[in-house]
Amino acid sequence: MQIILALVIGALFGATLDRVGATNPNWIIRMLSLRNLHLMKTIILAIGVGSILMFGGQMLGLVDVLHMSVKSAYIGVFIGGLLLGGGWAASGYCPGTGVCAAASGRKDALFFIAGGLLGAAAYMVTYDGWKASGLLDGIAGGKVTLGTVPGSKFEGMMALPGDVLGLVLGLVFVIVAFVLPDSLVGDGAEIAVE
């Protein structure tokens, strides 16, 4: 059953990434160079919609709170984020969109994946050093959500009800997606979308 779900949700995710332009390095560069924020609006709206559906579903008792999986917060998250951001902008790919781009026939994405496999292997062999540095030790509680989600195995940073906060933040993301301009840099030339 798990394998069937992996096939269905995975395929849906891959197809969606293709249709929103996330697997296309041209769209990634347009977004990251702030010339055209169409993909940024898509991503921000998606986070908002996902949040509203998940927390709304939890409040209605339709979504299992225990399906949440919160990653730990530590200094390495920020450093790793900086590295990923730099490589993402230079190549136009991140891990998920890179594999999908390779599947769509993009040759450079194959090189991205090869480099990625080597980078992941390099982390495997240097992990001990990071671990010893203390930069992987949890900060502000580690695996925490901003509010305290009822029934969740993860603690909240604040005592605020985490599901209500999640719903509100979800709405904020939706609003941001709508108010974000189409372009912040350059003439913002129109690029056809459906």
Binding site: Q2, I3, L5, A6, L7, I9, G10, F13, G14, A15, D18, R19, V20, G21, P25, I29, R30, S33, T42, I43, L45, A46, I47, S51, H67, K71, A73, G76, F78, G80, G81, L83, L84, G85, G87, A89, S91, G92, P95, G96, G98, A103, R106, K107, F112, G115, G116, L117, L118, G119, A120, A121, M124, W130, V144, T145, L146, G166, V185, V193
Partner: protein
């Protein structure tokens, strides 16, 4: 042509929701480690071992962490997260074919590269390779990537998701502006 952001955003958000509703939040970058471990264990079977009580462990500290979670998944590649990434590729492939493919020129060299650096595919492939190395090294250090940390994380109001997104965009915006001076 890409979907309008309103349609695309709702669709993408729904897929992230569907994953949490039915199984767990979406994540991708761990599977690069799993594939590495599968290959490395095939070359050196001593890498991943199973103890008498059935638990998996590894001589590599990273694969052995969290009670050998990665070691176990590398020994059993037919698990949810690994199949998920294979399925993503199948889904993207079908979607691309359904809309008529991306074209020969774009498959060889993205137009934004051509506009900035001309017809230099080897240089582009080198940048993609080095970029991939940095992206996955960073993702593993951070414990997740754009899907796991940024999308799934911020959607769940995870503190780590916000920290990750701050780091990623802080680096990505200036690098994109410097490397790609001309838009396309």
């Amino acid at each position: 042509m890409v979907l309008n952001w309103k349609t695309g955003g709702v669709l993408l958000g729904f897929v992230f929701f569907l994953a949490v509703l039915l199984v767990k939040p979406i994540g991708v970058s761990t599977q690069f480690v799993i594939l590495d471990a599968i290959v490395a264990d095939a070359v050196n079977p001593e890498l991943i071992t199973q103890t008498d009580d059935g638990a998996y462990t590894s001589t590599n500290a990273y694969l052995a962490k969290s009670d050998g979670k990665y070691a176990k998944n590398a020994s059993n590649p037919l698990n949810y997260s690994f199949i998920f990434v294979i399925a993503m590729m199948i889904g993207a492939f079908i979607s691309v074919k359904a809309r008529g493919g991306i074209g020969k020129d774009e498959a060889r060299l993205p137009v934004v590269w051509y506009v900035n650096y001309g017809d230099t595919p080897v240089k582009r492939y080198a940048v993609a390779f080095v970029g991939g190395f940095i992206v996955l090294y960073g993702a593993r250090l951070a414990g997740g990537c754009t899907s796991g940390h940024m999308m799934s994380g911020m959607m769940q109001t995870s503190l780590s998701g916000y920290i990750f997104a701050a780091g990623a965009f802080l680096a990505a915006v200036p690098v994109a502006m410097l490397v790609y001076k001309k838009g396309a």
